[in-house]
């Protein structure tokens, strides 16, 4: 649990601020992953402010210049996981780890880190700015990221391998992984789902932002993943589906008993939640603010 106890109201307020920040970015640079921000802000805020058991951030409050790619001579750069309180040199294994697979949600993660007091609001000014660590799609060094997740389907396996290690070593922290629904179309996810249940990884907890859309349209039209709950049950997982905009429902779902099994919590979400002006554009992976609507969006932004 986070040290400070946040009320539902505070969490919803933080989620609104996340959406507002990302709308602000979109107004500034023309577009952003707004649909993902709208769909996942409540979930990500609930994770950071209530569900995840993280230590205090050890990362820089301000953005940092890109520290270079990992190599034999560059392994001690500041890892993105330090912002989640993970100290690679001296880990507290009772704390949770948070793996973000849907890393094009980076802006949501950065803004949630601001709301959780883990980075300064001014760091967001460096979002997607050349030469800085706040890239549009996160990697090992990006605040809040454990790994380089841009090629979908791999992070769930890395998280499961970590959970396997935690289990063997008797560490009590949970390994939490966030997925979006589209990426579950990758075959590797299913390889991992079968292995995670085979190894009885009850310390592996997966949250899915099921916003029902992906690059080419609605998931149901591109490549449906439903019925996901039934599929997960068949794969030996505990799995529940909740309203991803209901803080109490997400909180309750996180307590679902899952003895001897990994747990998946599917959060049913809406890609224009909180910014209804986006609705006519959907489905859209990367909404841009139309010139003729800029003023309208600006006005809405100010009202948030």
């Amino acid at each position: 649990m986070a040290d400070k106890v946040y009320t539902n109201e505070e969490i919803l307020k933080a989620a609104t601020k996340i959406r507002k920040s990302i709308l602000g970015i979109a107004l500034r640079i023309g577009g952003c992953y707004l649909a993902q921000a709208c769909s996942s802000a409540d979930l990500v805020a609930t994770l950071y402010l209530r569900i995840l058991n993280l230590g205090p951030s050890l990362g820089n409050k301000e953005a940092l210049p890109f520290p270079g790619v990992p190599s034999p001579t560059n392994m001690d750069y500041q890892k993105g996981s330090t912002y989640n309180g993970y100290n690679p040199k001296n880990p507290d294994y009772s704390k949770d780890r948070f793996f973000v697979s849907c890393c094009h949600y980076a802006s949501v993660i950065y803004c949630a880190l601001v709301e959780a007091g883990r980075i300064d609001a001014s760091a967001i000014e460096k979002f997607n700015v050349d030469g800085w660590n706040m890239e549009m799609i996160g990697a090992e060094h990006s605040p809040g990221f454990e790994n380089t997740a841009g090629s979908l389907g791999q992070t769930i396996s890395i998280a499961a391998g970590t959970a396997h290690a935690y289990k063997m070593k008797g560490h009590t922290g949970n390994i939490v992984c966030m997925l979006s629904d589209g990426e579950i179309e990758e075959g590797q996810d299913w390889e991992c789902f079968q292995a995670a249940s085979f190894y009885k990884l009850e310390n592996l907890i997966v949250y899915v932002d099921k916003n029902g859309q992906q690059v080419e349209g609605y998931t149901k039209d591109v490549m449906p993943t439903e019925p996901l709950v039934e599929r997960m049950h068949a794969f030996g997982w505990e799995c529940v589906e909740v309203d991803g905009h209901n803080i109490d429902a997400i909180t309750e779902a996180s307590k679902t008993p899952h003895k001897g099994k990994p747990l998946m919590i599917i959060c049913d979400t809406c890609p224009w939640q909180g910014i209804p002006l986006l609705k006519p554009m959907m489905p859209k992976h990367y909404p841009r603010i139309p010139k003729e609507q800029k003023e309208e969006f600006q006005k809405f932004y100010e009202s948030m």
Partner: protein
């Protein structure tokens, strides 16, 4: 020549007894990759991942991040061709110490094209942070896992299994990024790797009988490829260089040598023996070596070409040393 058997099995057991962090992951081919006994002796450190190499690779990344040292076991072809993206994004980019123990490299399997890793060196060589080892005999099998451990980053091993000849003295172990000088000479330099070194040794013996002065280097580290011995040997020979490798001539040993020659302005001809930009089919090793001209005779032809003369060496002259064959998939 002495044949040794199941040296990897012995070696991984020795490594496991010294390094408690070492774990083995298998994609349903562990029993074909000499880790059956490991699984019996260390059941808690042997992870059956099923026929699912992508997950196995990224899962290993998670284990490596937590201090385990995963040694992945399956056929080499499934450890690069099938999972290249996982190998790059999950392992290579974060520079994790994961060892890919790839068995039946090149044409050492009768399993046909799907089982033959014929362009793996060329592919893996382009990946930052990786080291590549291509073992040639039992003596090298006995040391390669130690070198992989010491490298402390991602390592791709083309490993030999079951009956393997001992070509090199047991007390002269494989060294990191160091060519093994098997013959010194001034006419032609031969670079060989993997099972082709045995062929090259046969060819060298026959060539020496005809008075040709051969410099012969066995190469077992394909990345990095910076041993100064390579340059030195290239500089000292009169006619040029020949490479012979267990795979395609594009991107592997021949290409490594060509790059070194160009970078060092060594203006001599280089001829390459290997698969000539083609796949192979399923058959015995002996058949494949001959069918695809990956043998001592072809090497001799290339040396003759470099020297511009017919040395009159016949197939019978090479019969002195015979191979054991690989007959199992």
């Amino acid at each position: 020549m002495k044949m040794e058997i199941n040296k990897h099995n012995e070696n991984i057991l020795r490594m496991a007894s010294v390094h408690p962090e070492l774990v083995v992951l298998s994609a349903d081919l562990g029993t074909s990759c000499e880790v059956k006994e490991f699984a019996q002796k260390y059941p808690d450190r042997y992870f059956s991942m099923g026929i699912a190499e992508q997950n196995m690779c990224s899962w290993a990344a998670g284990l490596a991040r937590e201090g385990y040292r995963p040694y992945l076991h399956t056929f080499s072809v499934f450890l690069y061709r099938r999972i290249l993206d996982q190998l790059e994004m999950s392992i290579a980019y974060p520079n994790l110490p994961v060892v890919f123990c790839g068995f039946v490299p090149g044409i050492t399997t009768p399993g046909g094209v799907s089982h033959q890793s014929t362009n793996d060196i060329g592919v893996v060589r382009t990946i930052p942070n990786f080291a590549i080892f291509d073992v040639g005999d039992a003596t090298e099998i006995e040391r390669v896992l130690d070198l992989a451990w010491d490298f402390n980053g991602p390592v791709y091993i083309r490993q030999l299994r079951k009956e393997v000849p001992r070509l090199f003295p047991a007390n002269k172990p494989m060294e990191f990024n160091k060519a093994r000088v098997l013959s010194e000479g001034t006419d032609v330099v031969i670079f060989s790797s993997s099972i082709m070194t045995e062929e090259a040794m046969r060819a060298t013996a026959a060539l020496k009988n005809k008075g040709v002065s051969i410099e012969h280097l066995h190469i077992s580290t394909l990345k990095p490829f910076t041993d100064p011995q390579v340059v030195e040997s290239l500089k000292k020979v009169k006619y040029g260089a020949v490479t012979i490798e267990n795979g395609t001539v594009i991107g592997g040993l021949g290409t490594c040598v060509a790059e070194v020659m160009a970078e060092n302005a060594i203006g001599k001809p280089l001829l390459k023996v290997g698969l000539n930009d083609q796949y192979a089919h399923g058959a015995s090793k002996m058949y494949l070596l001959e069918h695809y001209h990956l043998d001592a005779m072809e090497l001799i032809k290339k040396v003759e070409k470099l020297m511009g003369k017919d040395l009159g060496i016949k197939k019978e002259d090479l019969e002195a040393i015979r191979f054991e064959d690989f007959s199992e998939v």
